[in-house]
Amino acid sequence: MARKVTLTLCVLGLAALSALLTGCGQDRPTLYVYNWGDYIDEDILEEFEKEFNMKVVYDTFSTNEDLYVKLKSGGSTYDVIFPSDYMLTRMLNENMLEKIDLSKIPNHRHIDESLMGTVYDPDNEYSLPYMWGTIGILYNTTMVAEPVDSWDALWDPRYAKEILMLDSQRDSMAAALIKLGYSINTLDKQELAEAGELLKQQKPLVLAYVVDEGKDKMVSGEAALALTWSGEAMYAISENDDLAYVIPKEGTNVWFDVMAIPKGAKNLEGALQFMDFLNRPEIALRNADYIGYATPNLAARAMLPEEIRDDPQAYPNLDALENAEFFVHLGDTLKDYDRIWTEVKAH
Protein backbone atom coordinates (compact mmCIF):
# COMPACT_ATOMS: atom_id res chain seq x y z
CA MET A 1 0.00 0.00 0.00
CA ALA A 2 2.67 2.43 1.05
CA ARG A 3 4.69 1.71 -2.02
CA LYS A 4 1.72 2.24 -4.27
CA VAL A 5 1.02 5.61 -2.73
CA THR A 6 4.64 6.70 -2.89
CA LEU A 7 4.67 5.77 -6.51
CA THR A 8 1.47 7.70 -7.18
CA LEU A 9 2.85 10.71 -5.40
CA CYS A 10 6.04 10.56 -7.42
CA VAL A 11 4.10 10.39 -10.65
CA LEU A 12 1.88 13.27 -9.61
CA GLY A 13 4.91 15.30 -8.58
CA LEU A 14 6.65 14.61 -11.86
CA ALA A 15 3.56 15.50 -13.81
CA ALA A 16 3.25 18.75 -11.95
CA LEU A 17 6.93 19.53 -12.38
CA SER A 18 6.86 18.89 -16.08
CA ALA A 19 3.74 21.02 -16.33
CA LEU A 20 5.61 23.81 -14.60
CA LEU A 21 8.54 23.44 -16.93
CA THR A 22 6.45 23.51 -20.07
CA GLY A 23 4.54 26.43 -18.59
CA CYS A 24 7.53 28.60 -17.93
CA GLY A 25 10.33 27.05 -19.83
CA GLN A 26 9.46 28.48 -23.20
CA ASP A 27 11.98 30.81 -24.74
CA ARG A 28 9.36 33.33 -25.76
CA PRO A 29 9.66 36.54 -23.79
CA THR A 30 6.63 37.44 -21.74
CA LEU A 31 4.81 40.75 -21.82
CA TYR A 32 2.75 41.63 -18.76
CA VAL A 33 -0.17 43.89 -19.62
CA TYR A 34 -2.44 45.48 -17.01
CA ASN A 35 -5.57 47.05 -18.48
CA TRP A 36 -9.12 47.98 -17.54
CA GLY A 37 -11.71 45.19 -17.69
CA ASP A 38 -13.33 44.77 -21.15
CA TYR A 39 -10.97 47.31 -22.65
CA ILE A 40 -9.40 45.49 -25.56
CA ASP A 41 -10.39 43.07 -28.29
CA GLU A 42 -8.61 40.00 -26.94
CA ASP A 43 -8.05 38.57 -30.40
CA ILE A 44 -5.59 41.40 -30.89
CA LEU A 45 -3.49 39.99 -28.08
CA GLU A 46 -3.23 36.68 -29.87
CA GLU A 47 -2.23 38.31 -33.11
CA PHE A 48 0.44 40.25 -31.29
CA GLU A 49 1.73 37.05 -29.71
CA LYS A 50 2.00 35.37 -33.07
CA GLU A 51 3.59 38.23 -34.90
CA PHE A 52 6.18 39.10 -32.28
CA ASN A 53 6.67 35.61 -30.89
CA MET A 54 5.88 36.81 -27.41
CA LYS A 55 3.61 35.56 -24.68
CA VAL A 56 1.13 38.11 -23.38
CA VAL A 57 -0.03 37.78 -19.79
CA TYR A 58 -3.13 39.94 -19.63
CA ASP A 59 -4.58 41.13 -16.36
CA THR A 60 -7.36 43.59 -15.63
CA PHE A 61 -8.29 46.14 -12.98
CA SER A 62 -11.54 48.02 -12.52
CA THR A 63 -10.56 51.48 -11.32
CA ASN A 64 -7.51 53.74 -11.38
CA GLU A 65 -7.24 53.34 -7.65
CA ASP A 66 -7.03 49.54 -7.97
CA LEU A 67 -4.23 49.97 -10.47
CA TYR A 68 -2.35 52.42 -8.31
CA VAL A 69 -2.61 50.36 -5.13
CA LYS A 70 -1.55 47.21 -6.93
CA LEU A 71 1.55 48.87 -8.37
CA LYS A 72 2.35 50.91 -5.28
CA SER A 73 2.10 48.06 -2.81
CA GLY A 74 4.64 46.23 -4.92
CA GLY A 75 4.73 42.55 -5.54
CA SER A 76 3.54 42.87 -9.14
CA THR A 77 5.46 43.91 -12.18
CA TYR A 78 3.85 44.86 -15.44
CA ASP A 79 5.25 46.08 -18.72
CA VAL A 80 2.34 48.10 -20.07
CA ILE A 81 -0.36 49.80 -18.00
CA PHE A 82 -3.36 51.95 -18.91
CA PRO A 83 -3.91 54.65 -16.28
CA SER A 84 -6.14 57.69 -16.76
CA ASP A 85 -4.93 61.27 -16.95
CA TYR A 86 -4.97 62.24 -13.28
CA MET A 87 -3.50 58.92 -12.25
CA LEU A 88 -0.70 59.47 -14.75
CA THR A 89 0.17 62.71 -12.94
CA ARG A 90 0.16 60.95 -9.62
CA MET A 91 2.42 58.20 -10.88
CA LEU A 92 4.75 60.71 -12.48
CA ASN A 93 4.92 62.67 -9.22
CA GLU A 94 5.83 59.50 -7.41
CA ASN A 95 8.38 58.49 -9.99
CA MET A 96 6.59 55.28 -10.91
CA LEU A 97 6.93 55.48 -14.69
CA GLU A 98 9.58 54.70 -17.26
CA LYS A 99 10.27 57.11 -20.15
CA ILE A 100 9.14 55.93 -23.55
CA ASP A 101 11.09 56.30 -26.75
CA LEU A 102 8.69 57.65 -29.36
CA SER A 103 11.08 56.79 -32.17
CA LYS A 104 10.37 53.13 -31.40
CA ILE A 105 6.65 53.78 -31.87
CA PRO A 106 6.44 55.06 -35.44
CA ASN A 107 2.68 54.61 -35.52
CA HIS A 108 2.22 57.39 -32.99
CA ARG A 109 2.04 59.73 -35.99
CA HIS A 110 -1.55 58.56 -36.50
CA ILE A 111 -2.61 60.01 -33.16
CA ASP A 112 -4.65 63.20 -33.17
CA GLU A 113 -2.27 66.13 -32.57
CA SER A 114 -4.80 67.85 -30.36
CA LEU A 115 -4.78 64.86 -28.02
CA MET A 116 -1.00 64.67 -27.82
CA GLY A 117 1.02 66.75 -25.40
CA THR A 118 -1.74 67.29 -22.86
CA VAL A 119 -1.09 68.96 -19.56
CA TYR A 120 -0.48 65.60 -17.99
CA ASP A 121 2.50 64.79 -20.11
CA PRO A 122 3.33 67.85 -22.28
CA ASP A 123 6.03 66.19 -24.37
CA ASN A 124 4.63 62.66 -24.37
CA GLU A 125 7.74 61.47 -22.63
CA TYR A 126 5.87 58.91 -20.58
CA SER A 127 2.59 58.14 -22.27
CA LEU A 128 0.51 57.91 -25.41
CA PRO A 129 -3.26 58.31 -25.44
CA TYR A 130 -5.20 55.03 -25.77
CA MET A 131 -8.86 56.05 -25.62
CA TRP A 132 -10.75 59.11 -24.52
CA GLY A 133 -14.30 60.03 -23.62
CA THR A 134 -16.69 61.68 -21.23
CA ILE A 135 -18.84 60.72 -18.28
CA GLY A 136 -22.59 61.01 -18.56
CA ILE A 137 -25.88 59.27 -18.04
CA LEU A 138 -26.93 56.16 -19.90
CA TYR A 139 -30.68 55.68 -19.65
CA ASN A 140 -33.40 53.41 -20.90
CA THR A 141 -35.94 55.43 -22.89
CA THR A 142 -38.70 52.94 -22.16
CA MET A 143 -38.23 53.27 -18.41
CA VAL A 144 -37.52 56.99 -18.14
CA ALA A 145 -40.42 59.14 -19.20
CA GLU A 146 -38.83 62.37 -20.43
CA PRO A 147 -35.44 62.90 -22.05
CA VAL A 148 -32.69 63.20 -19.50
CA ASP A 149 -30.50 66.31 -19.66
CA SER A 150 -29.37 66.92 -16.10
CA TRP A 151 -27.40 65.18 -13.36
CA ASP A 152 -30.53 65.67 -11.22
CA ALA A 153 -31.95 62.56 -12.89
CA LEU A 154 -29.59 60.42 -10.82
CA TRP A 155 -31.16 61.87 -7.69
CA ASP A 156 -34.75 61.57 -8.90
CA PRO A 157 -36.78 59.58 -6.35
CA ARG A 158 -39.10 58.36 -9.12
CA TYR A 159 -36.31 56.04 -10.19
CA ALA A 160 -35.57 54.66 -6.76
CA LYS A 161 -33.70 51.37 -7.00
CA GLU A 162 -33.28 51.79 -10.74
CA ILE A 163 -30.09 53.86 -10.66
CA LEU A 164 -26.57 52.48 -11.11
CA MET A 165 -23.58 54.43 -9.83
CA LEU A 166 -19.93 53.80 -10.57
CA ASP A 167 -17.94 52.04 -7.90
CA SER A 168 -15.12 54.46 -8.61
CA GLN A 169 -14.52 57.36 -6.28
CA ARG A 170 -13.43 60.14 -8.63
CA ASP A 171 -16.29 59.50 -11.08
CA SER A 172 -19.12 59.26 -8.59
CA MET A 173 -17.79 62.24 -6.66
CA ALA A 174 -17.55 64.16 -9.93
CA ALA A 175 -21.25 63.64 -10.62
CA ALA A 176 -22.12 64.99 -7.18
CA LEU A 177 -19.71 67.93 -7.43
CA ILE A 178 -20.97 69.00 -10.87
CA LYS A 179 -24.56 68.79 -9.64
CA LEU A 180 -23.63 71.09 -6.77
CA GLY A 181 -21.97 73.48 -9.20
CA TYR A 182 -18.46 72.91 -7.89
CA SER A 183 -15.29 72.01 -9.71
CA ILE A 184 -14.60 68.29 -10.02
CA ASN A 185 -11.10 69.06 -8.82
CA THR A 186 -12.08 71.05 -5.78
CA LEU A 187 -9.76 70.99 -2.80
CA ASP A 188 -12.28 72.71 -0.58
CA LYS A 189 -13.12 70.42 2.32
CA GLN A 190 -16.53 71.98 2.76
CA GLU A 191 -17.48 71.35 -0.87
CA LEU A 192 -16.20 67.79 -0.69
CA ALA A 193 -18.18 67.13 2.46
CA GLU A 194 -21.31 68.44 0.74
CA ALA A 195 -20.72 66.14 -2.22
CA GLY A 196 -20.24 63.23 0.20
CA GLU A 197 -23.52 64.09 1.88
CA LEU A 198 -25.25 64.22 -1.49
CA LEU A 199 -23.98 60.75 -2.34
CA LYS A 200 -25.14 59.42 1.02
CA GLN A 201 -28.57 60.91 0.44
CA GLN A 202 -28.65 59.26 -2.96
CA LYS A 203 -27.84 55.82 -1.58
CA PRO A 204 -31.43 54.68 -0.95
CA LEU A 205 -32.16 55.33 -4.63
CA VAL A 206 -29.15 53.39 -5.90
CA LEU A 207 -29.63 49.82 -7.08
CA ALA A 208 -25.93 48.97 -7.06
CA TYR A 209 -22.41 50.37 -7.31
CA VAL A 210 -20.90 48.76 -10.36
CA VAL A 211 -18.03 49.04 -12.78
CA ASP A 212 -17.85 46.58 -15.62
CA GLU A 213 -21.19 44.88 -15.02
CA GLY A 214 -23.07 48.14 -15.51
CA LYS A 215 -23.42 47.91 -19.26
CA ASP A 216 -24.76 44.36 -19.14
CA LYS A 217 -27.35 45.42 -16.59
CA MET A 218 -28.45 48.34 -18.72
CA VAL A 219 -28.64 46.19 -21.83
CA SER A 220 -30.84 43.63 -20.10
CA GLY A 221 -33.09 46.30 -18.62
CA GLU A 222 -32.14 45.73 -14.98
CA ALA A 223 -31.85 49.45 -14.30
CA ALA A 224 -33.20 52.67 -15.78
CA LEU A 225 -30.31 55.10 -15.35
CA ALA A 226 -26.58 54.72 -14.97
CA LEU A 227 -23.62 57.00 -14.41
CA THR A 228 -21.23 55.69 -17.01
CA TRP A 229 -18.29 56.30 -19.31
CA SER A 230 -19.10 57.20 -22.91
CA GLY A 231 -17.58 54.07 -24.44
CA GLU A 232 -19.51 51.75 -22.13
CA ALA A 233 -22.61 53.65 -23.21
CA MET A 234 -21.82 53.25 -26.92
CA TYR A 235 -21.37 49.52 -26.46
CA ALA A 236 -24.64 49.22 -24.53
CA ILE A 237 -26.56 51.25 -27.11
CA SER A 238 -25.26 49.01 -29.89
CA GLU A 239 -26.73 46.05 -27.99
CA ASN A 240 -30.06 47.65 -27.07
CA ASP A 241 -31.77 50.34 -29.14
CA ASP A 242 -33.84 51.60 -26.23
CA LEU A 243 -30.80 53.04 -24.53
CA ALA A 244 -29.56 56.59 -24.91
CA TYR A 245 -26.52 58.46 -23.64
CA VAL A 246 -26.44 62.08 -22.63
CA ILE A 247 -23.76 64.45 -21.46
CA PRO A 248 -25.70 66.47 -18.88
CA LYS A 249 -26.02 70.20 -19.41
CA GLU A 250 -24.32 71.12 -16.12
CA GLY A 251 -21.06 69.73 -17.41
CA THR A 252 -18.94 66.66 -17.61
CA ASN A 253 -15.47 65.30 -17.22
CA VAL A 254 -13.37 64.67 -20.31
CA TRP A 255 -10.84 61.97 -19.64
CA PHE A 256 -8.00 60.21 -21.41
CA ASP A 257 -6.73 56.75 -20.76
CA VAL A 258 -3.12 56.39 -21.73
CA MET A 259 -0.58 53.67 -22.31
CA ALA A 260 2.49 53.86 -20.11
CA ILE A 261 5.34 51.72 -18.86
CA PRO A 262 5.75 51.36 -15.11
CA LYS A 263 9.16 51.42 -13.43
CA GLY A 264 10.58 47.97 -13.06
CA ALA A 265 9.15 46.70 -16.34
CA LYS A 266 11.19 43.74 -17.50
CA ASN A 267 10.25 43.75 -21.16
CA LEU A 268 10.74 47.33 -22.31
CA GLU A 269 11.30 46.36 -25.91
CA GLY A 270 8.09 44.34 -25.99
CA ALA A 271 6.15 47.12 -24.30
CA LEU A 272 7.11 49.58 -27.03
CA GLN A 273 6.30 47.04 -29.74
CA PHE A 274 2.91 46.48 -28.12
CA MET A 275 2.16 50.22 -28.02
CA ASP A 276 3.15 50.54 -31.64
CA PHE A 277 1.04 47.54 -32.58
CA LEU A 278 -2.04 49.03 -30.90
CA ASN A 279 -1.55 52.20 -32.93
CA ARG A 280 -1.54 50.49 -36.29
CA PRO A 281 -4.60 51.98 -37.95
CA GLU A 282 -6.31 48.67 -38.72
CA ILE A 283 -5.66 47.33 -35.21
CA ALA A 284 -6.79 50.57 -33.56
CA LEU A 285 -9.89 50.50 -35.74
CA ARG A 286 -10.85 46.99 -34.74
CA ASN A 287 -10.17 47.73 -31.11
CA ALA A 288 -12.24 50.93 -31.05
CA ASP A 289 -15.01 49.18 -32.91
CA TYR A 290 -15.00 46.29 -30.47
CA ILE A 291 -14.96 48.19 -27.18
CA GLY A 292 -16.94 51.26 -28.26
CA TYR A 293 -14.64 53.97 -26.92
CA ALA A 294 -13.33 56.95 -28.88
CA THR A 295 -9.93 56.31 -30.37
CA PRO A 296 -7.39 59.12 -30.61
CA ASN A 297 -6.00 57.39 -33.69
CA LEU A 298 -7.14 59.56 -36.61
CA ALA A 299 -6.37 57.00 -39.28
CA ALA A 300 -8.52 54.48 -37.46
CA ARG A 301 -11.29 56.97 -36.83
CA ALA A 302 -11.41 57.85 -40.51
CA MET A 303 -12.20 54.22 -41.29
CA LEU A 304 -15.06 54.00 -38.78
CA PRO A 305 -18.63 54.07 -40.15
CA GLU A 306 -19.83 57.61 -40.57
CA GLU A 307 -22.60 57.44 -38.01
CA ILE A 308 -20.07 56.55 -35.31
CA ARG A 309 -17.28 58.79 -36.54
CA ASP A 310 -19.45 61.89 -36.38
CA ASP A 311 -21.61 60.91 -33.43
CA PRO A 312 -21.40 63.88 -31.05
CA GLN A 313 -21.93 61.56 -28.09
CA ALA A 314 -19.07 59.26 -29.00
CA TYR A 315 -16.73 61.89 -30.43
CA PRO A 316 -17.81 65.23 -28.96
CA ASN A 317 -16.17 68.35 -30.29
CA LEU A 318 -13.89 69.25 -27.42
CA ASP A 319 -13.94 72.95 -28.16
CA ALA A 320 -17.71 73.12 -28.29
CA LEU A 321 -18.20 71.11 -25.09
CA GLU A 322 -19.23 73.53 -22.36
CA ASN A 323 -18.34 73.10 -18.74
CA ALA A 324 -16.13 70.14 -19.47
CA GLU A 325 -13.27 69.69 -17.05
CA PHE A 326 -10.30 67.37 -16.96
CA PHE A 327 -9.46 65.53 -13.78
CA VAL A 328 -6.26 66.65 -12.15
CA HIS A 329 -4.31 64.89 -9.46
CA LEU A 330 -5.39 66.15 -6.05
CA GLY A 331 -2.29 65.56 -3.96
CA ASP A 332 -2.97 65.24 -0.26
CA THR A 333 -6.68 65.94 -0.69
CA LEU A 334 -6.92 62.38 -2.00
CA LYS A 335 -6.98 61.21 1.60
CA ASP A 336 -10.25 63.11 2.04
CA TYR A 337 -11.59 61.47 -1.09
CA ASP A 338 -10.64 58.02 0.19
CA ARG A 339 -12.30 58.74 3.48
CA ILE A 340 -15.46 60.24 2.02
CA TRP A 341 -15.85 57.41 -0.46
CA THR A 342 -15.27 54.76 2.21
CA GLU A 343 -17.95 56.49 4.26
CA VAL A 344 -20.41 56.65 1.38
CA LYS A 345 -19.93 52.94 0.74
CA ALA A 346 -20.21 52.12 4.44
CA HIS A 347 -23.26 54.32 4.95
Partner: protein, 279 residues
Protein backbone atom coordinates in the same frame (compact mmCIF):
# COMPACT_ATOMS: atom_id res chain seq x y z
CA UNK B 1 -48.59 10.71 7.59
CA UNK B 2 -45.96 12.15 9.88
CA UNK B 3 -43.39 10.29 7.90
CA UNK B 4 -44.74 11.81 4.72
CA UNK B 5 -44.48 15.31 6.22
CA UNK B 6 -40.98 14.66 7.41
CA UNK B 7 -39.93 13.46 4.01
CA UNK B 8 -41.57 16.40 2.27
CA UNK B 9 -39.66 18.75 4.51
CA UNK B 10 -36.35 17.23 3.49
CA UNK B 11 -37.37 17.30 -0.16
CA UNK B 12 -38.23 20.96 0.22
CA UNK B 13 -34.77 21.67 1.62
CA UNK B 14 -33.30 19.78 -1.32
CA UNK B 15 -35.27 21.93 -3.72
CA UNK B 16 -33.72 24.96 -2.05
CA UNK B 17 -30.24 23.48 -2.30
CA UNK B 18 -30.49 22.25 -5.87
CA UNK B 19 -32.69 24.80 -7.59
CA UNK B 20 -29.92 27.32 -8.27
CA UNK B 21 -27.67 24.62 -9.66
CA UNK B 22 -30.45 23.26 -11.85
CA UNK B 23 -31.21 26.74 -13.16
CA UNK B 24 -27.56 27.25 -14.10
CA UNK B 25 -27.48 23.91 -15.87
CA UNK B 26 -30.61 24.65 -17.86
CA UNK B 27 -29.39 28.08 -18.89
CA UNK B 28 -26.03 26.69 -19.97
CA UNK B 29 -27.90 25.20 -22.94
CA UNK B 30 -29.91 28.32 -23.68
CA UNK B 31 -29.17 29.89 -27.04
CA UNK B 32 -29.94 33.40 -25.83
CA UNK B 33 -27.90 35.68 -23.65
CA UNK B 34 -30.91 37.05 -21.88
CA UNK B 35 -32.42 35.08 -19.03
CA UNK B 36 -35.99 36.02 -19.71
CA UNK B 37 -36.51 33.73 -22.64
CA UNK B 38 -35.54 30.40 -24.04
CA UNK B 39 -33.72 30.78 -27.33
CA UNK B 40 -33.42 27.12 -28.17
CA UNK B 41 -30.91 24.40 -27.31
CA UNK B 42 -27.25 25.08 -27.98
CA UNK B 43 -23.80 23.85 -27.05
CA UNK B 44 -22.06 27.02 -28.11
CA UNK B 45 -21.30 28.21 -24.58
CA UNK B 46 -19.37 25.00 -24.05
CA UNK B 47 -17.41 25.59 -27.22
CA UNK B 48 -16.69 29.17 -26.20
CA UNK B 49 -15.72 28.01 -22.73
CA UNK B 50 -12.96 25.80 -24.08
CA UNK B 51 -11.75 28.56 -26.37
CA UNK B 52 -11.55 31.12 -23.59
CA UNK B 53 -7.89 31.52 -22.86
CA UNK B 54 -8.38 33.15 -19.47
CA UNK B 55 -10.54 30.32 -18.23
CA UNK B 56 -8.32 27.60 -19.60
CA UNK B 57 -5.13 29.08 -18.20
CA UNK B 58 -6.73 29.58 -14.81
CA UNK B 59 -7.93 25.98 -14.87
CA UNK B 60 -4.36 24.94 -15.46
CA UNK B 61 -3.07 27.15 -12.61
CA UNK B 62 -5.73 25.81 -10.28
CA UNK B 63 -4.80 22.19 -10.90
CA UNK B 64 -1.10 22.88 -10.79
CA UNK B 65 -1.25 24.81 -7.51
CA UNK B 66 -3.68 22.22 -6.11
CA UNK B 67 -1.46 19.21 -6.84
CA UNK B 68 1.85 20.75 -5.84
CA UNK B 69 0.59 22.46 -2.69
CA UNK B 70 -1.24 19.31 -1.59
CA UNK B 71 1.88 17.16 -1.99
CA UNK B 72 4.21 19.54 -0.20
CA UNK B 73 1.67 20.21 2.55
CA UNK B 74 1.19 16.46 3.01
CA UNK B 75 4.90 15.82 3.41
CA UNK B 76 5.46 18.67 5.86
CA UNK B 77 2.17 18.02 7.65
CA UNK B 78 2.73 14.29 8.09
CA UNK B 79 6.21 14.82 9.50
CA UNK B 80 4.84 17.53 11.75
CA UNK B 81 2.04 15.27 12.99
CA UNK B 82 4.56 12.59 13.92
CA UNK B 83 6.62 15.20 15.73
CA UNK B 84 3.61 16.63 17.54
CA UNK B 85 2.49 13.15 18.53
CA UNK B 86 5.81 12.64 20.25
CA UNK B 87 6.00 16.00 21.95
CA UNK B 88 4.76 16.64 25.41
CA UNK B 89 3.57 19.45 27.62
CA UNK B 90 3.98 23.10 26.79
CA UNK B 91 5.69 22.47 23.50
CA UNK B 92 2.82 20.37 22.22
CA UNK B 93 0.21 22.85 23.39
CA UNK B 94 2.02 25.74 21.81
CA UNK B 95 2.40 24.03 18.46
CA UNK B 96 -1.19 22.83 18.43
CA UNK B 97 -2.45 26.32 19.18
CA UNK B 98 -0.45 27.84 16.36
CA UNK B 99 -1.71 25.03 14.13
CA UNK B 100 -5.28 25.98 14.89
CA UNK B 101 -4.59 29.62 14.13
CA UNK B 102 -5.08 29.49 10.35
CA UNK B 103 -8.05 27.15 10.81
CA UNK B 104 -9.84 29.52 13.15
CA UNK B 105 -8.66 32.81 11.78
CA UNK B 106 -11.08 34.39 9.34
CA UNK B 107 -9.80 33.60 5.88
CA UNK B 108 -9.58 37.22 4.93
CA UNK B 109 -7.23 37.88 7.84
CA UNK B 110 -4.95 35.02 6.84
CA UNK B 111 -5.09 36.36 3.31
CA UNK B 112 -4.12 39.94 4.07
CA UNK B 113 -1.44 38.86 6.52
CA UNK B 114 0.22 36.72 3.85
CA UNK B 115 -0.13 39.51 1.32
CA UNK B 116 1.58 41.92 3.70
CA UNK B 117 4.34 39.36 4.27
CA UNK B 118 5.03 38.82 0.58
CA UNK B 119 4.93 42.49 -0.29
CA UNK B 120 7.05 43.32 2.74
CA UNK B 121 9.64 40.71 1.73
CA UNK B 122 9.50 42.03 -1.84
CA UNK B 123 8.50 38.68 -3.31
CA UNK B 124 6.85 39.06 -6.68
CA UNK B 125 3.20 38.03 -6.38
CA UNK B 126 2.33 35.15 -8.68
CA UNK B 127 2.73 31.40 -8.83
CA UNK B 128 5.27 31.22 -6.03
CA UNK B 129 3.28 33.28 -3.54
CA UNK B 130 0.09 31.41 -4.39
CA UNK B 131 1.86 28.14 -3.80
CA UNK B 132 3.35 29.24 -0.48
CA UNK B 133 -0.03 30.56 0.69
CA UNK B 134 -1.84 27.37 -0.28
CA UNK B 135 0.71 25.15 1.42
CA UNK B 136 0.37 27.28 4.54
CA UNK B 137 -3.38 26.93 4.85
CA UNK B 138 -3.27 23.26 3.85
CA UNK B 139 -0.74 22.01 6.41
CA UNK B 140 -3.03 22.23 9.46
CA UNK B 141 -5.67 20.11 7.74
CA UNK B 142 -3.12 17.44 6.92
CA UNK B 143 -1.90 17.42 10.51
CA UNK B 144 -5.43 17.17 11.82
CA UNK B 145 -6.15 14.23 9.49
CA UNK B 146 -3.00 12.34 10.39
CA UNK B 147 -2.99 12.87 14.15
CA UNK B 148 -6.00 10.60 14.91
CA UNK B 149 -4.33 7.73 13.05
CA UNK B 150 -1.18 8.20 15.12
CA UNK B 151 -3.22 8.01 18.30
CA UNK B 152 -4.59 4.63 17.20
CA UNK B 153 -1.08 3.39 16.54
CA UNK B 154 0.40 0.67 18.69
CA UNK B 155 3.35 2.29 20.45
CA UNK B 156 5.31 -0.90 20.63
CA UNK B 157 5.43 -1.43 16.88
CA UNK B 158 8.08 1.23 16.44
CA UNK B 159 10.13 -0.04 19.39
CA UNK B 160 9.90 -3.56 18.06
CA UNK B 161 11.21 -2.41 14.72
CA UNK B 162 14.16 -0.71 16.44
CA UNK B 163 14.83 -3.81 18.51
CA UNK B 164 14.90 -5.84 15.36
CA UNK B 165 17.64 -3.64 14.02
CA UNK B 166 15.90 -0.97 12.00
CA UNK B 167 17.38 2.50 11.92
CA UNK B 168 14.88 5.10 13.19
CA UNK B 169 14.42 6.51 9.72
CA UNK B 170 13.80 3.08 8.26
CA UNK B 171 11.41 2.19 11.06
CA UNK B 172 9.50 5.36 10.39
CA UNK B 173 9.29 4.63 6.69
CA UNK B 174 8.56 0.91 6.96
CA UNK B 175 6.37 0.76 10.04
CA UNK B 176 4.79 4.07 10.94
CA UNK B 177 4.01 5.51 7.52
CA UNK B 178 2.14 2.43 6.22
CA UNK B 179 0.09 2.33 9.41
CA UNK B 180 -1.05 5.93 9.16
CA UNK B 181 -1.44 5.89 5.38
CA UNK B 182 -5.26 6.26 5.38
CA UNK B 183 -4.87 9.47 7.38
CA UNK B 184 -2.20 10.74 5.02
CA UNK B 185 -4.37 10.10 2.00
CA UNK B 186 -7.35 11.80 3.58
CA UNK B 187 -5.09 14.75 4.32
CA UNK B 188 -3.77 14.83 0.78
CA UNK B 189 -7.21 14.76 -0.78
CA UNK B 190 -8.50 17.31 1.66
CA UNK B 191 -5.59 19.62 0.93
CA UNK B 192 -6.15 19.26 -2.79
CA UNK B 193 -9.87 20.02 -2.50
CA UNK B 194 -9.32 22.99 -0.24
CA UNK B 195 -6.73 24.34 -2.58
CA UNK B 196 -8.85 24.16 -5.72
CA UNK B 197 -11.82 25.60 -3.87
CA UNK B 198 -10.01 28.50 -2.25
CA UNK B 199 -10.87 31.99 -3.32
CA UNK B 200 -10.17 34.54 -0.61
CA UNK B 201 -6.55 33.69 0.07
CA UNK B 202 -5.69 33.32 -3.61
CA UNK B 203 -7.40 36.62 -4.38
CA UNK B 204 -5.05 38.53 -2.11
CA UNK B 205 -1.83 36.65 -2.74
CA UNK B 206 -1.80 36.44 -6.50
CA UNK B 207 -0.55 38.93 -9.05
CA UNK B 208 1.08 39.46 -12.41
CA UNK B 209 -1.64 37.82 -14.41
CA UNK B 210 -1.76 34.54 -12.51
CA UNK B 211 -5.35 33.64 -11.80
CA UNK B 212 -7.06 30.59 -10.35
CA UNK B 213 -10.45 29.38 -11.47
CA UNK B 214 -12.12 30.93 -8.43
CA UNK B 215 -10.61 34.32 -9.14
CA UNK B 216 -11.64 34.14 -12.78
CA UNK B 217 -15.18 33.21 -11.82
CA UNK B 218 -15.30 36.10 -9.35
CA UNK B 219 -14.17 38.67 -11.87
CA UNK B 220 -16.57 37.29 -14.46
CA UNK B 221 -19.45 37.21 -11.99
CA UNK B 222 -18.71 40.81 -11.01
CA UNK B 223 -19.21 41.68 -14.63
CA UNK B 224 -22.65 40.07 -14.68
CA UNK B 225 -24.28 36.93 -15.90
CA UNK B 226 -22.22 35.01 -18.42
CA UNK B 227 -23.45 31.83 -20.08
CA UNK B 228 -19.88 30.52 -20.16
CA UNK B 229 -19.92 30.40 -16.37
CA UNK B 230 -23.13 28.40 -16.55
CA UNK B 231 -21.43 25.89 -18.82
CA UNK B 232 -18.46 25.74 -16.48
CA UNK B 233 -20.76 25.15 -13.51
CA UNK B 234 -22.50 22.31 -15.28
CA UNK B 235 -19.23 20.58 -16.06
CA UNK B 236 -17.88 21.06 -12.56
CA UNK B 237 -21.06 19.87 -10.93
CA UNK B 238 -21.24 16.74 -13.07
CA UNK B 239 -17.60 16.03 -12.34
CA UNK B 240 -18.05 16.40 -8.59
CA UNK B 241 -21.17 14.27 -8.64
CA UNK B 242 -19.42 11.46 -10.51
CA UNK B 243 -16.43 11.63 -8.19
CA UNK B 244 -18.59 11.43 -5.09
CA UNK B 245 -20.58 8.53 -6.47
CA UNK B 246 -17.40 6.61 -7.26
CA UNK B 247 -15.92 7.31 -3.84
CA UNK B 248 -19.14 6.23 -2.20
CA UNK B 249 -19.46 3.01 -4.13
CA UNK B 250 -15.90 2.19 -3.15
CA UNK B 251 -16.56 2.98 0.47
CA UNK B 252 -19.72 0.94 0.47
CA UNK B 253 -17.79 -1.98 -0.96
CA UNK B 254 -15.08 -1.67 1.66
CA UNK B 255 -17.68 -1.38 4.37
CA UNK B 256 -19.23 -4.58 3.17
CA UNK B 257 -15.85 -6.21 3.48
CA UNK B 258 -16.07 -4.99 7.05
CA UNK B 259 -12.73 -3.32 7.06
CA UNK B 260 -13.41 0.32 7.57
CA UNK B 261 -16.35 0.23 9.90
CA UNK B 262 -18.06 3.57 9.86
CA UNK B 263 -15.04 5.27 8.53
CA UNK B 264 -16.65 6.14 5.24
CA UNK B 265 -19.27 8.36 6.66
CA UNK B 266 -16.89 10.00 9.00
CA UNK B 267 -14.52 11.16 6.36
CA UNK B 268 -17.32 13.16 4.79
CA UNK B 269 -17.86 15.02 7.97
CA UNK B 270 -14.23 15.63 8.57
CA UNK B 271 -13.72 17.06 5.18
CA UNK B 272 -16.87 19.12 5.40
CA UNK B 273 -16.12 20.49 8.78
CA UNK B 274 -12.78 21.64 7.70
CA UNK B 275 -14.41 23.39 4.79
CA UNK B 276 -16.33 25.71 7.03
CA UNK B 277 -13.77 28.34 6.47
CA UNK B 278 -14.53 27.94 2.79
CA UNK B 279 -16.22 31.27 2.41
Amino acid sequence: MVRFLKRSYIYLVFVFLYMPIAVLMVYSFNDSRSRGMWGGFTLRWYVELFQDRTIMSSLYSTLFIGVVSAIIATVIGTLAAIGIHNSRGIQKKLIMNVTYLPVLNPEIVTAISLMILFVFAKVRLGYLTLLLAHITFNIPYVILSVLPKLRQLNKHLYEAALDLGCTPARALWKVIIPEIMPGIITGLLLAFTLSIDDFVISFFTTGSGVSTLSITIYSMARRGINPKINALSTIMFTFVLLLLIIVNIRQAREQRKGRNGRNGQKSHFDSLRSRFSGA
